[in-house]
Symmetry: C2
Subunit: 338 residues, 2 copies
DNA sequence: CTGAAAGCGCTTACAG
DNA sequence: CTGAAAGCGCTTACAG
């Protein structure tokens, strides 16, 4: 392996000078610099990241923590974050908290200690005890979706997004509206599911439409889960004229349930989602758009700023991105006979 | 920060002994061990990964390289890999090659040099020049989908998977079958797209069914891309009775094209995919199943074995996982009037 | 602008 | 079973 000493020897300078011309901010004589660069190039020198980290105290790696990787939101945002970080010379260490056989399903502070320069939390809810442990780490952190402590946060207004969706259905004339996506299980602590269902209830009440409790359904936020949750309702005597799913992935499940029960969409049933999943266009799904890559970029920039300033306690920042309605083909006025 | 010296002092032993009881394989007196463990625990000691790496030459991090993160296959397999690796004490450094504004769209050997213990390649095609650079890295590598050099590979038989799909359509009586998913652009070098379209052609020819070149369509392997590619064909006078999409994501686009052109599925058009995407069940999509998490686990295990043996040149291994037909509701015999 | 030297926090033969 | 010491490959004040 070629080390900094090899380069120094070839260039006829000290290792300190090599280090300075390659990474340091200090002044180096242009002719010296040229010799060093040439030597490094000839030897195909690549500095050892591990040695640089130990000596400098900075790893140039960022931890990205998500509750799972296999859902559209997370896959999309991780892509954007990775691109953004790589452009600035940082690497992404991925922590997917999905519980598996033997996998913890939770993070441990040792994952991060002395290993990363900062942490990006993607919609992960943290207990007070965990929060205390994280504080000891003394690392810059930025959150997306769910806030942790007083860390900067990037998010959309989930309450408003859900209200936009409900309002769309109301304005089409629907009064018999069901909802699927009440938080359960592993997502019970996340703020997005709670905010969206709260907005559903409030918006209906505000419009003078009573909320039928039997029509507010829990699901695990997968297509299959939503399909199972909704199908019985669609088969019952008294069924809704519209279903709002808390996510597009669940809306796809509702579409499946409609197909299984022989209901035409939107003639017999309007179906609406939230998110604007990449399949929403092809499926003609009416939804509320959120810009996920933009959230990833914003979060990456915020964290980078904190890392570079070596600020552990960055001033509280909150970046809220806009959402907007995208009506497509799965929503329509309820049939007169409905 | 608490270091190994702090633990040594508190336990009344040398740092060497602390190192040995915490990580080493050498024998340590049980009573000494207990004192060290207690001291480490009391101080909440976490060894510096960076110092361990520099001293030992092993980083315990694995590079996972994928052409993108935002597609179902990659998101699913990365989840499985991450779980598997974390269980064994390894970390995942993610390299998503998706080109962005400023992002290279390609990997560079410096990404990996002295930074990771091994590389997992997920369906990324590598040029001979790149392959030569990688060889110099002298790192254990394992591939999924597309082979690189003589590295061990985990894959499905894409040719067989596509043949299974075509055979299903033929057995239903279809003879007018279109195909979408000829490789273009960034996926032009990947073996999966090439293998699947080749199998489509060969299976038809073998069955005595002529291949209409105008019905073999290129697309970028997204739902929207496939929808755009297929819609004109569905609007033409002479249209197929069935469309095979090279992936379920594209099949969803075909479903969208059918909806836009007013064709009923499967009455007017059979639609078939390959992969068994997590939405396939809800959408009733007929497809050919592949077990993606199993591929991830197999690849992780293969790489781990190579890393632990410090084998750079592991004996060529090829693990081929089975696929099987899952007929659902989007395929049916062609209508008599078709 | 440049070099000598200490130091980052571990691991690992080498002795004992 | 345990300790002293060298070494991993850099960075960074400190002098000059």
């Amino acid at each position: 392996m070629v080390t900094i000493a090899d380069v120094a020897q070839r260039a006829g300078v000290s290792v300190a000078t090599v280090s300075r011309t390659l990474h340091g901010s200090a002044k180096v004589d242009p002719r010296t610099r040229a010799r060093v660069l040439a030597a490094a190039d000839e030897l195909s020198y690549v500095a050892s990241p591990t040695a640089m980290s130990l000596a400098s105290g900075r790893t140039h790696v960022i931890a990205v923590v998500a509750p799972m990787m296999s859902r559209w939101f997370f896959a999309s945002i991780v892509t954007a974050i990775e691109q953004n970080l790589r452009e600035t010379g940082y690497h992404v260490m991925l922590f997917s908290l999905e519980a598996g056989p033997g996998a913890p399903g939770r993070f441990r502070p040792e994952f991060f200690a002395k290993r990363v320069d900062g942490i990006l939390w993607l919609n992960v809810a943290v207990t007070p005890a965990e929060e205390a442990l994280l504080a000891k780490l003394d690392l810059p952190m930025v959150c997306v979706g769910t806030q942790i402590g007083d860390s900067p946060t990037v998010l959309i207004d989930d309450h408003r997004a859900a209200r936009t969706a409900v309002t769309h259905l109301l304005s089409l004339g629907h009064r018999e509206i069901a909802y699927v996506g009440t938080p359960v299980g592993s997502i019970a602590h996340m703020t997005t599911p709670a905010a969206r269902v709260a907005a559903f209830r409030e918006t209906l009440v505000h419009a003078g439409v009573p909320v039928r409790e039997g029509w507010v359904l829990a699901a695990d936020w997968t297509a299959d889960g939503a399909m199972e949750a909704v199908e019985p309702l669609l088969r019952s005597d008294r069924r809704p004229t519209a279903v709002l799913a808390a996510s597009d992935e669940m809306a796809i499940g509702v579409l499946g349930a409609a197909a299984r029960t022989g209901l035409r969409v939107p003639e017999d049933l309007s179906v609406m989602g939230i998110d604007d999943h990449s399949f929403a266009g092809a499926l003609g799904l009416s939804t509320v758009h959120q810009d996920v890559p933009a959230q990833g970029r914003a979060a990456a920039q915020l964290l980078l700023a904190a890392v570079r300033n070596r600020d552990t306690r960055t001033p509280a920042t909150r970046i809220e991105l806009a959402t907007h309605l995208i009506p497509r083909q799965t929503t329509a006025p309820p049939q007169a006979a409905g």
